[in-house]
């Protein structure tokens, strides 16, 4: 156990996956902005290297380096770690896994390869998974499978996600307190943004490379902080 430092506070990210403004339900068919339909069944992503912007300094969190958020297990969508006390106007996390951890052997904890977020034949982590079905998919059984990852340049799909505190006013976090960010994760934005994604054209992405990287460029649009507060 790490020692509790005197100036330590806590940071909690509460991810709320949504589709069309309502809490995501697996097994429900949704209409995407481009008119295609999609029934999601799996949504997971790595959230790592949390840090906060404190004045001009970036403060790294001191808890676990990586967490695996899985929409099927709501408890994993609340991520709690420790961070130095101070005044924060924004936070950030890596949606993905840094390249060093992709090449330095077998990792443990959230990054243990048995969790199924690892390509064994082409060493590297799957940073985010979105799976389901769609009548628009041209695949067998209409499967839609997006396994997004890849650490190799130029198609490194790990994306830094910035989280501005709600209202933009910096929050003061004292030792022992917890700052809680409620974050909407609008899953339809997986398909919109920098790279408009069509299920009919690209219903499957299972390897690192240009397509995975392009899809990852949409990720920053998924996350919006709706509320931020400090609790004792």
């Amino acid at each position: 156990m790490e020692e509790e430092l005197p100036d330590q506070a806590s940071l909690e990210l509460r991810f709320h996956p949504l589709m069309q403004g309502s809490p995501l339900e697996f097994g429900t068919t949704y209409t995407l902005p481009n008119g295609e339909t999609f029934e999601p069944r799996v949504f997971k992503f790595y959230c790592g290297q949390l840090s906060g912007q404190n004045a001009r300094q970036l403060k790294q969190s001191t808890g676990d380096a990586y967490f695996l958020a899985d929409a099927a297990t709501p408890a994993t969508m609340n991520i709690k770690t420790r961070i130095a006390a101070g005044t924060y106007q924004s936070f950030q996390f890596l949606l993905g896994v840094d390249s060093a951890r992709n090449v330095s052997g077998v990792q443990s904890g959230a990054l243990d390869p048995y969790k199924g977020m690892f390509w064994t034949w082409n060493s590297g982590y799957i940073f985010a998974k979105l799976e389901g079905r769609s009548p628009d998919a041209t695949t067998p059984n209409n499967l839609v499978e997006y396994h997004i990852g890849g650490f190799r340049v130029p198609f490194n799909a790990a994306q830094t996600i910035r989280l501005q505190v709600a209202d933009g006013a910096p929050l003061q976090l004292k030792a022992g307190q917890t700052i809680i960010l409620d974050i909407d994760v609008e899953l339809e934005k997986w398909f919109t943004g920098n790279y408009p994604l069509s299920i009919a054209a690209n219903g499957v992405c299972m390897t690192p490379g240009e397509l995975a990287w392009n899809i990852s460029r949409n990720f920053s649009g998924l996350f919006t902080v709706t509320q931020s507060r400090v609790e004792e």
Binding site: T120, N122, P208, G209
Partner: protein
């Protein structure tokens, strides 16, 4: 006075050593281990494997060997690592272009011999695997090979009290994890060092080539085979295209499959020529049955007369390491 000084110094050192020992993790579970120094042959380059992260011990190597020979790492119990990596074939699959996996399936590539792995920083013919510890996860989970999940393998191993005892001894915790299982396997595979062929003995001044072997070695050097098959590993560990056309049965583009770069199309990792007499058929898909086929393929770029071919073959046979393939500590 002086003796008091030394006495104090000794006690201090002793106390420090005790402190060092008690600081190692889970020292209660960890038994007394016999450490092994990696047998790096004299004059060879430094290995790239990080031994500090996985210190070799006699017990760790033995545990890795047990795993390597254990069918429970596969879905139906029939496909231990050793089923495709046979000791008598220098840990390739003897006389097989492709190997057999779960449910009567073929692999899509020729199983390479396993030796001198401590010098490799990537694995597979396309180099897709970035660390030796990660390598076993690929065949374990490939549906046409061992066809199992990592989770199931760990469950099967953890249900075995003997394994738990051995893992506790080697790694300090009875719980078998992905990391400890693969570290044990690496310890075993790292010890497969091939450096005792006749060629090596000649290099060490312990033996002499006969005239044919000597002439073959000269051809090997003059025809610049060693520009790719560089001594002492007999590979430069790089990805090269040797002009083989795409095999339409697999459409295997090699290194490009990993990098996505067209410049890497049909490039495969240069295989070592060590133990080449045991590792036929040749090439990444085993398309050439014997050396004659290989010489024929290279006839465009490196033409050899039939006499030169025979002499070169005599030299290549001196690269067989009988000692490694029959070492009881590694093979039984």
């Amino acid at each position: 006075m002086k003796s008091v000084y030394y006495c104090t110094l000794f006690l201090l050192l002793f106390a420090l050593m005790q402190w060092g020992i008690s600081c190692t993790k889970n020292d209660d579970d960890k038994g007394k281990l016999q450490s092994i120094e990696f047998p790096k042959p004299a004059g060879w380059p430094d290995p790239v494997y990080d031994f500090a992260s996985n210190p070799l011990t006699k017990e760790g190597v033995a545990l890795g060997k047990k795993l390597f020979f254990d069918g429970r790492l596969s879905k139906d119990g029939n496909f231990p690592c050793v089923s495709c990596h046979q000791p008598f074939a220098a840990f390739a699959t003897y006389e097989h272009d492709l190997s057999h996996g779960f449910n009567d399936q073929f692999t899509t590539r020729n199983a390479p011999g396993l030796f001198n792995l401590a010098w490799h920083s990537n694995f597979h013919h396309d180099g897709g695997i970035t660390h030796l510890d990660l390598q076993p996860l690929a065949p374990i989970t490939a549906p046409n090979e061992m066809a199992e999940t990592i989770e199931n393998v760990l469950n099967k191993l953890n249900a075995d009290a003997d394994y738990q005892k051995e893992f506790a001894k080697v790694f300090g915790s009875p719980e078998i994890t992905t990391a400890t299982m693969t570290k044990a396997l690496s310890q075993y595979m790292l010890m497969l060092v091939s450096s005792n062929s006749k060629y090596d003995q000649v290099k060490r001044g312990q033996a002499q080539f006969d005239v044919n072997q000597e002439a073959g070695y000269k051809i090997f050097q003059e025809k610049k085979c060693n520009s790719c098959h560089a001594e002492p590993l007999f590979t430069n560990l790089e990805f090269m295209s040797n002009g083989l056309p795409l095999n339409p049965a697999f459409n295997d583009v090699g290194r490009m499959r990993i990098t996505g770069s067209k410049a890497d199309s049909l490039k495969f990792k240069v295989p070592s020529l060590r133990n080449i007499a045991l590792t036929f058929p040749y090439m990444h898909d085993g398309r050439f049955w014997n050396l004659e086929d290989v010489y024929q393929h290279y006839n465009q770029t490196i033409p050899l007369s039939s006499v030169e071919r025979s002499l070169l073959t005599e030299f290549l046979k001196t690269l067989t390491d009988e000692k490694m393939i029959s070492d009881p500590f590694l093979t039984q």
